[in-house]
């Protein structure tokens, strides 16, 4: 609990830093990249003692269940796949959105609170050998849906 608030504060500061420091206020690239490098390194430490995943689905399940629960303190509410490399993770109370009041003005701001996580997931997958594109969609705060598309070939 107590470490959570430290991270939540740090995350909020990183969001502000990245947006204030970039020429374009809507440029979430830096934020995503900070998430990417974090995810890339973190997963390496986490999976040191975990057996090799047998396929893509198993890797995905690990990221979207075990990894997610550790980082976001709750299980995802739904995980779906079309079995063609498209995965959808739904979290009805996403950690970085729960402190924001719902409203259309706030909804406009939502992308900046999910960009770090898109990068985090992409980074973690990348280190496990899966090249992906991760996007997020917020329709009503604090619910969020992450789309993970595996780039094959």
């Amino acid at each position: 609990m107590s470490e959570e608030i430290v991270f939540d504060c740090l995350h909020a500061e990183i969001v502000n830093y990245c947006l204030n420091n970039s020429k374009d206020q809507n440029d979430l690239g830096t934020l995503e990249y900070i998430g990417f490098t974090t995810g890339y390194r973190l997963i390496e430490r986490l999976t040191r003692d975990v057996g090799r995943f047998k396929d893509e689905l198993e890797t995905m399940k690990f990221i979207c269940t075990d990894f997610w629960t550790l980082i976001y303190k709750k299980q995802v509410d739904n995980l779906r796949t079309n079995n063609y490399g498209m995965y959808v993770v739904q979290d009805k109370a996403f950690r970085f959105l729960t402190r924001i009041s719902p409203g259309s003005k706030q909804l406009e701001q939502a992308p900046k609170f999910v960009a770090f996580t898109c990068g985090l997931v992409r980074g973690a997958l990348s280190n496990l050998g899966i090249n992906s594109t991760v996007t997020a969609e917020v329709q009503t705060i604090p619910a969020c849906r992450f789309h993970i598309e595996v780039n094959r070939g």
């Binding site: 490098t37 974090t38 973190l42 003692d49 269940t65």
Partner: protein
């Protein structure tokens, strides 16, 4: 899957997650600014902002009463480090006037995976910590200075953070961003 999950230690993961995220931020700042002093300033400011938010959580969590002297303040800061970073710094090196002390860290979770290249010798990697102390205390009407005297990243045996009382603020100053 649960078999695998049980092997992951949640507390350790949280701490590493914080450490690695902070590291990614510092790395980004070094890319954004040519001058290391600017990075130090940014890190300090981020700490300051975090301190202002964390003190509210701290007061709510501990229901600590107002400190009457710096020795009490030092104890509270030590307690805060235990709660939020899971480290216990030693309080020492009090000045004769009891208005200045040091926090000695045997380990610093922020620098766990860090090695400073020689060209970054004036980077204050953990500047967020001194900023945090300053921000938190300002919210309880205490103006202090805080700086690093020794740093394990620079080859010292301990990391020593100095805190010096400046003055008691008369009334709450509205929290500003800068």
């Amino acid at each position: 899957m649960s078999r695998q999950a049980s092997r992951l230690d949640a507390k350790k993961v949280n701490s590493e997650f914080l450490t690695l995220t902070y590291g990614a931020l510092v790395t980004q700042m070094l890319r954004d600014f040519e001058n290391v002093d600017d990075v130090n300033k940014q890190l300090e400011r981020i700490g300051y902002n975090m301190g202002m938010r964390l003190i509210e959580d701290f007061l709510a969590r501990t229901s600590a009463p107002r400190c009457l002297e710096m020795r009490e303040t030092a104890d509270r800061i030590q307690q805060a480090f235990r709660i939020y970073l899971n480290v216990q710094p030693t309080i020492s090196n009090w000045s004769a006037a009891s208005d200045e002390f040091s926090l000695l860290f045997d380990t610093n979770p922020l620098t766990e995976f860090v090695e400073l290249p020689s060209d970054l010798s004036n980077l204050r990697y953990s500047a967020i910590l001194s900023g945090c102390i300053r921000g938190a205390l300002e919210m309880v009407q205490l103006e202090v200075q805080s700086w690093f005297v020794q740093d394990q990243l620079k080859g010292d045996n301990v990391t020593e953070l100095r805190v010096k009382f400046v003055r008691r603020l008369e009334e709450a100053i509205p929290a500003g961003e800068d």
